[in-house]
Structures are given as C-alpha cells and as structure tokens.
C-alpha cells in the first residue's frame, strides 16, 4: 500500500508541474510578444515622425528657395523663375534625404492657371513611408496679378 501511494503521488505531481510549466511559458511568450509588438510600433512611429519633420522642413526651405521667390519674400514665387527651375536644381540646392515631388497648384479664380510639378509622385504609391505637407503661397505674375496657390510637398522612403 505504501509503495502504491508513492507511485500515485509521483504521477500526479509530474502532470501538475508540466501543466503549470506550460501555463507559465505561455504567459511569458504572450507578454513577450506584446512587448515586441508595441516596441516595433513605436519604432515605426518614430520613423514616420522623423520623415514628417524632414518633409516639413524641406517644404519650408522650398517656400524660401532663393531661386524662385520674388524680392526675398517667403512664399511669393515668381512665375518666370518657376518655369526656369528643374527637379534636379531643387534636389542639388536643397538636398533632401528622401525622394520627393512638389506640386504648386494655382487655386485663384483667375482664368489662366499657373500650375507646376517637379518630380513624379507615382513612385510614392509603392513607398513604405509617404508623407504630404501643404502650405499656402502665391504666384507673382505681375504687380497687379498675384495668384493664391497651394504648395504640396510629398516625401517618401
């Protein structure tokens, strides 16, 4: 009887401990997964914010880009100068650390519109991170004709 009792106790104890060990491992793994998941989310968000800040700074640099503004006024673009510059000029002078495209959209009510595009934003649709920043600006046509415009700067990695 005595040896029988010891054998039963051993079998019961073994199964109890294996089961509880599995529970502990499961809790540990699920918590670890949660930590890693949130950690990766944070890393993604930081990368996104860094790109957002860089695109925003680049947009401001473009608004004050000396080769296109009139009389040194930030956001007042001379349409003659807008026609003359190229995507390569902008890349060389402002040196963004990401791919970009810029659109200047004439949103005035004048019948003749002065719209300009630098770069091709279709590539942005394949990018993992893509940000667009917009600011209001003007297109100077003459002293009597200054159009309102939206500057759309898209940056992607």
């Amino acid at each position: 009887m005595s040896s029988m009792r010891n054998r039963e106790r051993g079998v019961t104890g073994f199964f109890e401990e294996i089961f509880l060990f599995a529970v502990v491992i499961l809790i540990f793994l699920s918590t670890l997964y949660t930590v890693l998941y949130f950690g990766s989310l944070r890393a993604e968000r930081e990368k996104y914010i860094e790109l957002y800040e860089n695109v925003d700074k680049f947009a401001q640099s473009f608004l004050g880009y000396k080769k296109i503004i009139r009389s040194g006024t930030i956001g007042l673009f001379d349409y003659h100068k807008l026609r003359a510059i190229t995507y390569e000029n902008i890349r060389e002078d402002l040196q963004p650390a990401f791919n970009f495209s810029i659109k200047i959209i004439d949103v005035s009510e004048y019948p003749v519109k002065y719209n300009y595009t630098y770069g091709n934003e279709t590539n942005a649709s394949y990018a993992y991170y893509s940000i667009m920043v917009k600011y209001p600006a003007n297109i100077w046509v003459s002293e009597e004709e200054i159009h309102v415009a939206m500057v759309e700067v898209r940056g992607w990695l």
Binding site: E16, L20, V24, I27, V35, I49, G75
Partner: protein, 173 residues
C-alpha cells in the same frame, strides 16, 4: 501529500507568472514612455501665418458693390486693399453703399479664396477690425482649439491701423 504538492506548484507558477508579467510590463512601460510626437501645433500655427500673408497679398480679378449712383467694379486689387475699403465704407456708414452688396460682391470672393486655401483639412474664420467696425468672413463660431495669426495693416489713404486675424482649426474626422 499530493494535494499539498499540487497547491505548492500552483502557488509557484502564480508567483513566477506574476514576476515575469510585472517585469515585462515594466519594460513595456519604459519603451512607451515619452513617445515621439510630431509638433502639429507648430505646423498649424505656421499654416495660419502663411495663410494670412498668402491671402492678404493675393489679388482678386474682379469684385463689385452697389452704390446709389451705380455699381463700382474693382479689378486686380489685393485682398488687403479690399478689406481696407470694406472696413472704411462700413465704419463711415455711407448710406449710398448697399451693405448687402459688399457681402456678396467683395466678401464672398475673399471667402472662396480662403476656402480654396484651407479645405479639406481646415475650417477658417477671418476677423478684420477697424475702429468700431468688425467684419467676419467664414465660420462665425470659433472652437476652443484653434490657431490664429494677426496682421497689422494701414489704411491706404489715412494710414490708420486696421487688424486682420485669421483663425484655422482642424476638421475632426
């Protein structure tokens, strides 16, 4: 004895699980502390500033208003000049000017321009003040969270000061 051993194992497992979970939650807490935030407030303030300058220096192809002696048509005037004229007419309460026509012929084109520069992200309100006169273009009710920029301008003839403030706020989705 078997029951005691079982209870002991449950207690051990509970303790170990609790320690592991607490440890990982602390790590998670540290990892999520001070998450990086984009400075949307600064960006919105800057947007309000650029919007104000962009609007005021832009010109409007044609605006009009009615007087007792006929319709006045103004071509290629800057928005700053138009607001100055609007404020001056209202302040001096010239009975010869149809005030309703000022709203339709002068303020509505400014309103449309503001709309083109803000939609779809923002809503807007323009306040122009001169002596005892205030013009509001756009939304009349301002939300608590808004971003504004004020420009101090001078009347073309008298040089008296008038103020234009543009408020914007983000549209909640």
């Amino acid at each position: 004895m078997a029951v005691e051993r079982g209870i002991s194992a449950v207690v051990d497992a509970g303790l170990i699980s609790a320690i592991v979970v607490i440890g990982l939650v602390i790590i998670l807490g540290i990892a999520l502390q001070n998450p990086a935030e984009f400075k949307y407030d600064e960006m919105n303030k800057r947007y309000a500033e650029y919007l104000t300058y962009s609007l005021l220096r832009s010109t409007v192809q044609m605006v009009w208003y009615n007087t007792s002696s006929g319709t006045i048509i103004l071509e290629d005037k800057s928005v700053a000049e138009l607001i100055a004229e609007d404020l001056y007419i209202r302040e001096h309460n010239s009975s010869s000017v149809d005030i309703k026509s000022l709203e339709v012929g002068m303020e509505e084109p400014i309103n449309r321009t503001l709309k083109n520069l803000t939609y779809p992200k923002y809503r807007y309100s323009l306040y122009a003040e001169y002596k005892n006169t205030t013009i509001i273009i756009g939304f009349r009710e301002l939300p608590q969270i808004r971003y504004g920029y004020t420009a101090y301008l001078s009347m073309p003839t008298s040089g008296e000061e008038f103020i234009v403030t543009i408020y914007i706020w983000e549209v909640s989705e």
